[in-house]
Amino acid sequence: MADGLTLNKITAQRGIPVTEAAKKIADLGWNPSFVQEAMTFPTDYKITKAPKDPMKQVLRSYFPMQEEKDNRVYGALDAALRGDMFRNVEPRWVEWMKLFLAIIPFPEISAARSMAMVGRLAPGEDLRTGFTMQMVDEFRHSTIQMNLKKWYMENYIDPAGFDITEEAFGKCYATTIGRQFGEGFITGDAITSANVYLTVVAETAFTNTLFVAMPSEAARNGDYALPTVFLSVQSDESRHIGNGHSMLMSMLKEPENHLLLERDLKYAFWQNHAIVDAAIGTFIEYGTTNRDKTKESYAEMWHRWIFEDYYRTYMLPLEKYGIKIHHDDVHEAWKRITQKFYVHTVAQFFAVGWPVNFWRIEAQTDKDFEWFEHKYPGWYAQFGEFWKWYEKLSHKGQTNILFNGDVGYVYPHRCWSCLVPCLIREDLTVEEIDGQLHTFAHPIDAWTVKTAFAGEYEGRPTPAMGRFSGRREWESCYHGWDLADCIKDLGFVRTDGKTLIPQPHLRFDDREMWTLDDVRGHTLQSPLITLREMTPEAREKHIAEYKAGFAINPCN
């Protein structure tokens, strides 16, 4: 065949340009005249301008593209098994996946549900295809992650914890943080949740840490499956970020939305920081065995993705529309991540609470210490002794670290807003709401509950805004319980009826594994109930002591 005369050219037929196709598809909608759609997703925002779809998307190309992505993912999983991936995987890493993968499928499917909300609120049909794709994408994310978890369960040395995953999600004192995140996408003011909290902040700012940083660390620990799945997930996010930005732009056009947008950007940023950095920071810094000093720390990645890419490049330009940006909060979050050791105090808290977890946490060792000190100067002075204690108390027969008075750790109050405990002790904030005392990790958390999640904001009625509810302080669910009974009630016991699912070590040997008998005889207490029961004087003293912090005793 002559050059340039390919079969394709002979048979090529005129098609419709993609812009034209997207326009025709957007014209599928109409304004109902017989029956109006009920406004079942209340919002206090006013949206009159139809958001534009800059992506010009059609489902015809979407489905084959996604199927192709799937083929690559499932092909890679098969290849990982053929390559005997699990022989070389680091159990320290995979154990944390029991927590991570228990949490993440719920926020994902919640994102799918929230497309119903923005889909109905957005005037016009331009973005309908974008929302549809995101809905199906999030269904993809949720079930592809459940599949990955099942795959770990089937192939990893210790399946316990994976085998109770969705049950554990509903009960664990750590997953409660992830539930706050996922419920934040679907409950309360529809725009606050489905647009600002989910898309403008969680997806735009924080998915890089979730879906790019996590995979890199996984690969460093011999886990090639997680990167395959999560990079594929992340490849859908740019579309979602586009949807959210489009909605945001059409909301900005109404000056009366500005006040609410300022409120929601502030709330969403702070809470995403508190939750995502707590969880992902811990997985990346403490779930790894790789201590290469040339790799970026979580703090360094945070600076690049959150501070530079999100805050400086995405948020700051919004000021030209007349929106006040929460500059101070961004700097405060950065300070928490660096100077105040936020992630490290979270990892410490998870480790202290190992008996009520459903995965194994092993001690950090000398090699880890060196890396932490290099990346976070001053780390050793604050955390070194603790991790030595942790190692020492990882052996059966010792009093578990949660109740061991020799260590010097003070069990923290729980933040009523982000549900991460009040770990930066000097920032503890105690406030009375409806005649009851509540504890917060930071004044911005108190602001979130008292000022943002209320029926009025700065004099403006906000009847659609949600409320923080439920039995928010996990510890009060087991106030006065024996530790062993609590673990049994949680279901965090292996099927022999006595061996715990969580273990403070990676020794895969029955002789080394803790059982209910090893933890019996200690009574759990809710810090909040205890605080509320104190006399005012005792309480004042307690708060002052708490804010002063604690010192870990030397471990010999």
């Binding site: 599928l28 799937d70 889909g119 040395i157 554990a168 539930r179």
Partner: protein
């Protein structure tokens, strides 16, 4: 620090034996059959429930105090909402495989047909039918798709919501398939008016009762009513009537072998979505505790939507006389639609409203 390291040199299953080292199945739900299917493993309990494992209850609520998912969002009741499993067992992988296969099939058929010059040989009267009536129909499909997109937020379990979600995805895909198909054959057919469909949808007396039936489903606030009205009522009375009872049977006599291939995908979609819906409502209508109450609820929905569907179907009658070749009379197609509705209602043990 030797004691600090893993006791075993491998992280692979079977590298050591200890308590639960062989616990390789999710053990927090009851499979429907003897062993859990892949679909169940990736679906069940992902949407939590305070009555199962959500120990702290929902931790954010709407201003009225209701949590993320509440049972009162539908009038139907169940003694066990978690019992339902979608018969199509759809999860992401099967969904993309199926959707992608359909898109590939349609594009192949349309490309080959256009290459062969088929659209230009369609009967002239038939071209008018396609541009006006298939053109109008795409809006009905779209309306159902957006309505189901709304409903998938509100069901009480992951199984229910995901079944509604995939149904929505199928409907929205099909609405786009028709849109692009008409636009493409429009390039090959002189004088093809691509806007005639929407005009008919909004203005033609033939289509107004159909639009009313669709808007009534879109405007319903009960997610299971939307799901029920779509698959139990509208689809047999109007959807299949138009797609199978008209397009599929009449096209070829009017020298159109292409359109039936495009439309046939929707018929297959519907078979799956119908199976899912019937399974769910069979469960609800035969619930030990709430079966009778649910039958009443469903009969209430039938009373509301069946007359709209019958009226919509009836008003489509003139379409059957528009093509040059008329191989099937409207009355036959309509009778078939009525039989189909009766069969579905019968399967659920429901009484239909009198005509």
């Amino acid at each position: 620090m030797a004691t600090n390291m893993s006791s075993v040199k491998s992280g692979a299953a079977g590298a050591a034996t200890f308590a639960d080292s062989d616990s390789r199945k999710f053990r927090y739900f009851e499979p429907r059959g003897r062993r859990a299917t892949h679909y169940e493993d990736v679906t069940v309990d992902v949407q939590p429930d305070p009555e199962r494992y959500l120990m702290q209850d929902w931790i954010i609520s709407f201003p009225d105090g209701k949590g993320a998912y509440v049972k009162e969002w539908t009038a139907a009741k169940s003694s066990n909402w978690h019992a339902f499993r979608a018969p199509d067992q759809e999860w992401e992988r099967t969904h993309y495989q199926r959707q992608s296969t359909i898109e590939g099939m349609i594009q192949n058929v349309v490309q080959n047909a256009r290459r062969a010059g088929a659209p230009a040989r369609f009967d002239k009267a038939w071209v008018k039918v396609l541009q006006t009536h298939l053109g109008a129909w795409k809006h009905a499909e779209f309306g159902l798709g957006t309505s189901l997109m709304q409903a998938q937020r509100y069901g009480y379990t992951q199984m229910i919501n995901n079944a509604i979600l995939t149904n929505s995805s199928y409907k929205l895909r099909f609405a786009q398939d028709i849109t692009l198909y008409l636009a493409e054959i429009g390039i090959d057919i002189e004088g093809f008016d691509d806007s005639a469909g929407k005009t008919a949808w909004l203005e033609s007396p033939i289509w107004q009762p159909t639009r009313k039936a669709i808007e009534t489903i879109m405007g319903a606030t009960d997610p299971l009513e939307q799901y029920f009205a779509t698959n139990i009522v509208f689809e047999p009375l109007v959807g299949e009537l138009f797609r199978s009872g008209f397009i599929m049977q009449v096209a070829s006599s009017n020298r159109d072998f292409v359109t039936p291939a495009v439309v046939s995908a929707a018929e297959a979609d519907y078979e799956r979505n119908l199976a899912n819906t019937v399974d769910l409502f069979h469960l609800l209508c035969h619930d030990d505790e709430h079966g009778q109450a649910n039958q009443q609820v469903c009969e209430g929905w039938l009373a509301k939507h069946v007359p709209l569907g019958r009226d919509a179907g009836q008003h489509l009658q003139p379409i059957w006389s528009e093509p040059r070749a008329k191989p099937v009379p409207f009355t036959d197609a309509q009778a078939h639609a009525q039989d189909r509705l009766a069969a579905i209602a019968g399967e659920l043990g429901l009484n239909l409203p009198k005509e």
